[in-house]
């Protein structure tokens, strides 16, 4: 078991290296002089020169990559071209809202989606099932900013129940903090809920057709016991896999959600960085998100043994 965990953790290192290599080399795959590309159209020759020096373009690619990688390993993500602040510092300033939004969305989505999928599978073919499936198709199709604006229009502008936009840090009280994140979390979570509900329903349908479920029924177990004790536990592996993979959707969606609801998080940082062509910041954010994504999926992989003791490594 320990050997497996060690092997699995080590296996993420080459993946992270490849991610780092991509993020680094993207800049050089683009046609033209990277320094000029970053500097943009209105740059003076001095700007281009300064950027070229900061990128170290006069040295070979491999040397630059290894140096860059070595700094990243030490936690140095470079310096923003626009603000001249360390990228790690800028990320640290913006990380709280994004983390809060993502965590609330994940918790909310799991609490809504899993029961939805379970009930849909239990009542397969009924109107509840069809409603859940219809919701799933809509959840996939309506983009996050559309859900965001519709929710904000109804619940903030018309009904005035929740704030339209903005963010309050957790340190200023739990309710003001939560109040600002409810609508963004629902908007961001809708596609995630659709995804989890759908896979939960599919897996549960498969599990409910198993012999041991019939046995459980035959020995007189109530349906709640069967569903949550026997069935859901056996369906947990595919469901948690999708929860992990779906985080990629959340990361992409967070960038938009933060724009819609004016949340000063990493998504906003990314959008600002795009408009300013601040490539070190974009590199830093992409690296960080990818790293989190890989780690979350690693954690879920390791959780499999908890859900399913048959899986032994």
């Amino acid at each position: 078991m320990l050997a497996y965990i060690a092997r699995r953790v080590l296996a993420t290192i080459p993946v992270m290296l490849i991610v780092a290599f991509f993020v680094f080399s993207l800049l050089y795959l683009a046609p033209g002089d990277p320094a000029a590309v970053i500097a943009g159209d209105q740059a003076t020759p001095q700007d281009v020169e300064r950027i070229r020096a900061s990128l170290g373009l006069d040295r070979p690619f491999v040397v630059r990559f290894t140096e860059w990688l070595w700094r990243i390993v030490q936690g140095d993500l470079g310096v923003s071209i626009f603000t001249n602040l360390p990228v790690s510092h800028m990320i640290a300033q913006r990380i709280e809202p994004t983390t809060s939004l993502m965590l609330i969305t994940i918790v909310l989505a799991i609490c809504i989606a899993v029961p939805m999928g379970v009930v849909a599978a239990w009542k397969a073919g009924s109107w509840i099932d069809r409603a859940v499936m219809a919701f799933a198709v809509f959840g996939f199709s309506v983009p996050v900013f559309v859900t965001g604006y519709v929710l904000a229009y109804i619940f903030a502008l018309q009904l005035d129940w929740l704030p339209v936009q903005g963010y309050t840090p957790l340190s200023e009280g739990f309710w003001p903090f939560l109040e600002n994140l409810i609508l963004p979390a629902i908007a961001l979570g809708s596609i995630y809920i659709a995804l989890i509900a759908r896979i939960t329903r599919a897996t549960m349908l498969e599990v409910l057709a198993q012999d041991y479920i019939r046995t459980a029924k035959a020995k007189g177990l109530g349906s709640r016991g069967i569903l949550f004790l026997h069935a859901l536990k056996n369906a947990a592996v595919p469901i948690s896999t999708v929860i992990g993979i779906g985080i990629a959707l959340l990361i992409g969606g967070a960038v938009v959600t933060e724009s819609v609801f004016a949340i000063p998080g990493l998504g906003r940082l990314t959008v600002d960085a795009i408009l300013r062509r601040d490539y070190p910041v974009i590199q830093g954010v992409v690296l960080l998100f990818s790293f989190v994504y890989v780690l979350v999926n690693l954690a879920i992989d390791l959780l499999y043994t908890v859900f399913d003791p048959r899986i032994r490594y």
């Binding site: 080459p14 993946v15 992270m16 290296l17 490849i18 991610v19 290599f21 991509f22 993020v23 993207l26 800049l27 795959l29 683009a30 046609p31 590309v37 198709v137 809509f138 996939f140 199709s141 309506v142 983009p143 996050v144 900013f145 559309v146 604006y149 519709v150 229009y153 502008l157 339209v164 759908r198 896979i199 599919a202 498969e206 985080i247 990629a248 959707l249 990361i251 992409g252 969606g253 960038v255 938009v256 724009s259 819609v260 990314t270 959008v271 960085a273 795009i274 408009l275 062509r277 490539y279 974009i282 590199q283 954010v285 992409v286 998100f289 990818s290 994504y293 890989v294």
Partner: protein, 299 residues
């Protein structure tokens, strides 16, 4: 009855009959595949809007009219006007072109590239490990972020948007095709073909390729749907098509600052985008049920 009338009547009778059958077939098709029918209908509607945009009561989507800024919907401007006085209805109808072109191009390009990489990876074991590690790495970068990173480096244009989204979608297709190839290679008929001395290109062409087409088509529709959403997101955050091109994401981005006073600027492109993506998703679900019953049962 003269022979003349008999001859004249005969073709008419033949004509009526197939029409009945035809109508019956359409009805049967709709009943059997309601999602394909509904998705296809909505999608065709959007294509018609996009193709015939100049003839649908639109004006120049770029025409500025500072005097008529931010007008609510009326009979002159069906969807109102934006902050520069441009007609939102015209911009939304023309916007269908961008979305559909991006969706279709990305679906085709990503499928073709993914098919090629997947076939190579599934057949040439030496490169399989390397290719799949690269794909794992690419897949670890959330696709929207990858597209954002690519777009941050290039000038905003429809072509660059297509390339950026395609690159982000390729790993998933490659993995899918590789999986299909690996399972097909174990099939007795492929083993038989190998034993009979069939060359590898011929095996790929005759036995592998036809079997990858069904899952690939289904995947391609989902890719088209997600590409349209990604394009809108990129344009919305200012990393997509240049503002001069009226895409749904751009129209929404322009309406963003005003959405509390003029929600219709954001609302109409949002509805069109949602309907189009819904249509493609319905089509994908229907195709999956029709083409790949095994997969349909699992998901």
């Amino acid at each position: 009855m003269s022979p003349d009338t008999a001859v004249a009547a005969a073709p008419a009778a033949v004509d009526v009959f197939p029409a009945e059958v035809q109508r019956g077939r359409v009805r049967t098709f709709i009943r059997r595949h309601p999602t394909i029918a509904l998705g296809g209908f909505l999608l065709i509607l959007m294509v018609v809007l996009a193709v015939f945009a100049p003839f649908l009561g639109t004006s120049d989507p770029q025409a500025l009219a500072p005097a008529r800024r931010v007008r609510p919907p009326s009979d002159v401007h069906w969807f109102g006007t934006d902050m520069l006085g441009r007609d939102v209805y015209s911009r939304v109808i023309y916007g269908a072109r961008v979305s559909l072109i991006v969706g279709l191009s990305v679906a085709i390009l990503a499928s073709a590239a993914g098919l090629f990489i997947g076939l190579v990876s599934g057949f040439i074991r030496v490169v399989d490990g390397v290719i799949m590690r690269i794909m794992d790495g690419l897949m670890s970068i959330p696709s929207i972020l990858l597209a954002i990173a690519l777009m941050a480096l290039t000038r905003g244009s429809v072509q660059n948007v297509i390339i950026a989204i395609t690159v982000a979608e390729i790993p998933r297709v490659s993995r899918l095709v590789r999986g299909v190839v690996l399972s097909l290679r174990e099939q007795p008929y492929v083993e038989a073909a190998i034993a009979a001395g069939t060359t590898t290109p011929r095996i790929i062409w005759r036995h592998i390729l036809p079997n990858t087409l069904a899952p690939l088509t289904v995947q391609a529709t989902y890719i088209a749907a997600s590409a349209m959403i990604t394009e809108a997101i990129l344009s919305f955050i200012g990393a997509g098509t240049p503002p001069i091109i009226p895409s749904w994401g751009n129209v929404m981005a322009e309406g963003r600052a005003l959405w509390q006073v003029a929600p219709y600027i954001v609302f109409f492109p949002a509805v069109f985008l949602s309907i189009t993506v819904l249509a493609v998703n319905l089509l994908g679900d229907g195709l999956r049920d029709a083409l790949d019953p095994r997969l349909a049962k699992r998901i």
